[in-house]
Symmetry: C2
Subunit: 112 residues, 2 copies
DNA sequence: GCAACATATGAACAGTTATTTGAATGTTGG
DNA sequence: CCAACATTCAAATAACTGTTCATATGTTGC
């Protein structure tokens, strides 16, 4: 079936694809992506995120739970507040690559 | 020395975020991600994709339209058939990064 | 032109998901 | 323990999305 591994991507199992798609789906919601971006800069509390993005704390918490479960963000308690930040640097890379993709000029003639 | 911008990501406008989220959302469906992965290897026709992934040609076509509109894939007609392939290399990078993220061991203690 | 094949389109259904609202849990300092 | 604050949970609604089916468009060779 697949014969040409030109990339590091080698996804044999169905599970791996579903898991990967899950991560993309999570970042596919504008609200969640905004939350993720804010957390990339530095650890930030739930309340701060809510104020910063003009969202209800409840909604922010809801999304944070999903992002934490997917290991995109990590939580760290400091007193009353809980600060969230990126779990590793890969997410930043993923976003940077995608931004580069968006910025790519339409140099190739397309078959529309 | 300036210290803050650790990432190339600088998304001021709402539009840019929505556009970015749109790309992630598209890759967030397992079927669409599988189609994308197959197209990364080499140009492949709609029918071949359908057979290869055991999907109806109609469904494949639906997804391809979205992927093409988002400039993730490009279409090229060869006789009766239409071959699809990745529009640029960024998508491959994005997926590779995400795979690396998944493979990341749980080295950091988490606040669950 | 017509038949056969390849892909695209549109409507409709089923399942999922983001958001809101209100209450509940947990933490700190007196 | 109590009050005040921060976060989380749960149920309900509204909107979206993937899939299927049937039909249409487009291409090739006779």
């Amino acid at each position: 079936m697949f014969t040409k591994p030109r990339s590091a991507v080698r996804l044999s199992s169905e599970d791996a694809i579903v898991q990967l798609a899950d991560l993309f789906r999570l970042m596919g919601d504008p609200t969640r992506l905004r939350i993720t971006l804010v957390c990339l800069d530095e650890p930030i509390s739930v309340g701060e995120i809510a104020v910063c993005l003009m969202l209800s704390p409840s909604l922010v918490s809801h999304h944070l739970r999903l992002l934490k479960a997917a290991r995109i963000l990590r939580a760290e308690r400091r007193g009353k507040q809980i600060f969230y930040s990126a779990l590793d640097e890969h997410i930043r890379c993923v976003i940077d690559d995608m931004v580069a993709h968006v910025g790519e000029p339409l140099d190739i003639e397309e078959a529309d």
